[in-house]
Subunit: 279 residues, 2 copies
């Protein structure tokens, strides 16, 4: 099967690697408006050749869109314009706006809205890894709006990638993603800024940085070109979560201010019940 | 060398394992007021025998205190009461109050104040691991208040454990620890509570939990019996950091409310500079 990857970075590059290894993709075309990424993807053998958008779509059996969610709003309609019988899937982290954008497109049925819940804090083709996606969840949004054959192909692809398939409405996805992915990035960015602010007056502060700190702050290395558009598109949900999170932090603050260590312990014990979910 | 471990949980148990493997400890005595932990530490061979506090201190060459920091305020003076030529070191995460507590003790010199910057979100002897502490920082506080031979023994021990030694005043340690360890725990606890709060009305929310979420929330599994006393003892520093962190989060909130995506990007780009410190 000929697969076209639009956006040969972390997500697109990793998908290309897995699909080639599994024998699903026999030929991989790349499209990338970043010449450096294009050259690197070619050099690393992630794609067999680079092509312009129209050629890459027309040549493909399957088109995967793995670009920032603001760019996807512009590129997906163009991809569908070039589509005849190809199957198209996007892999972005915010689904509602994109769904609305192509709702009236005559080839809407060829498109499958997906979000594989995998990523790292790194970006670009060099960040692409072979073992990506395995054992993680992938959300398929509004499956009923896609043609049956398109849906089957995309589901088979993610099954081959050993992902756990979930069906959701785009609005439901965006709400959940705000809670279990987007807010984590904001807390990491803000935690990094908190400590960097202090570092201005105290250079030695990072000599003590522990594994716990690294774990909570690593997402602060994430690419703003990818994350600004996600927060923008999912703004309403994220503001709700952010308000709730600030209010939860204020409870810890109030316990310390009032020296109410009994309630502080209750807050921590409640947080401990996350063990049910995160092994 | 005979080593006594007071508190045979995650930290004490891991230290016992490493010191035995390295041949530093030829015999290990354990003291634990939790009968279940005592039995488990014996069964797992972490300690050779359990003993009462007085016997364990009097028999030892080196006594390691690895108990919650509130308990340490009570137990360290008692340990020094039993001490003649033994060397005593604590491994707790807050140093100033404990320093003050034993400042006037006649055997103050036998005590070395330390904080190995390693841990996991798990607790108890079963959480103890062999490869612990390696490549991490260990802080020695107010080294000048310890006898030269006691200091040398403890430094040699941490060097053998392949740790990176740092010297600091207790007050300086507590300030830095608030920024690069204690605040990370509060943000994780609060993030867990944020999402658990939402889960009450929306059970499916965790189906999407990604690796990023797991990474930022894993410290929420940490033991409240250990963490309440740390936050209590380091209250003033932690309140400063928590206020700064809430103010950093409010900047993200304000950007979203005002749809100021240029400044949102600036905030993220600033956070990205954490790459200098966290590889």
């Amino acid at each position: 099967m000929i697969v076209t990857i639009i956006g040969t970075g972390l997500i697109g590059g990793s998908a290309a690697k897995v699909l080639r290894e599994k024998g699903f993709a026999t030929r991989i075309l790349g499209v990338d408006n970043n010449p450096l990424h294009a050259a690197t993807a070619l050099r690393l053998g992630i794609v067999d050749e680079m092509a312009d958008l129209q050629t890459a779509v027309e040549t493909a059996d399957l088109v995967l869109l793995a670009i920032p969610v603001d760019a996807a709003l512009v590129v997906l309609p163009r991809v569908l314009d070039y589509t005849t019988q190809q199957v198209v899937a996007d892999m972005g982290s915010a689904k509602s706006l994109l769904r609305n954008k192509v709702a009236q497109h005559p080839r809407r049925g060829r498109y499958v809205s997906t979000h594989p819940m995998w990523g790292t804090e790194y970006s670009g083709p060099e960040a692409a890894v072979s073992g990506a996606f395995r054992q993680k969840a992938v959300v398929i949004c509004n499956a009923g709006e896609s043609d049956a054959d398109a849906l089957t192909l995309v589901r088979d692809m993610y099954t081959l990638m050993e992902m756990r398939l979930l069906d959701m409405d785009a609005a439901e996805h965006d709400l959940h993603a705000a809670y279990v992915s987007h807010i984590s990035h904001i807390t990491s960015f803000a935690l990094a800024n908190t400590v960097l602010e202090k570092e201005k007056e105290d250079e030695a502060i990072f000599e003590l940085a522990s594994a716990g700190f690294e774990s909570t702050v690593r997402l602060a290395k994430s690419n703003p070109d990818m994350w600004v558009p996600i927060l923008q598109q999912n703004r309403d949900n994220i503001l709700d979560v952010l308000n709730e999170h600030i209010s939860q932090l204020r409870k810890f603050k109030s316990c310390l201010e009032k020296e109410n260590y009994g309630y502080l312990k209750t807050l921590m014990e409640n947080a401990n019940t996350i063990k049910r979910i995160i092994k």
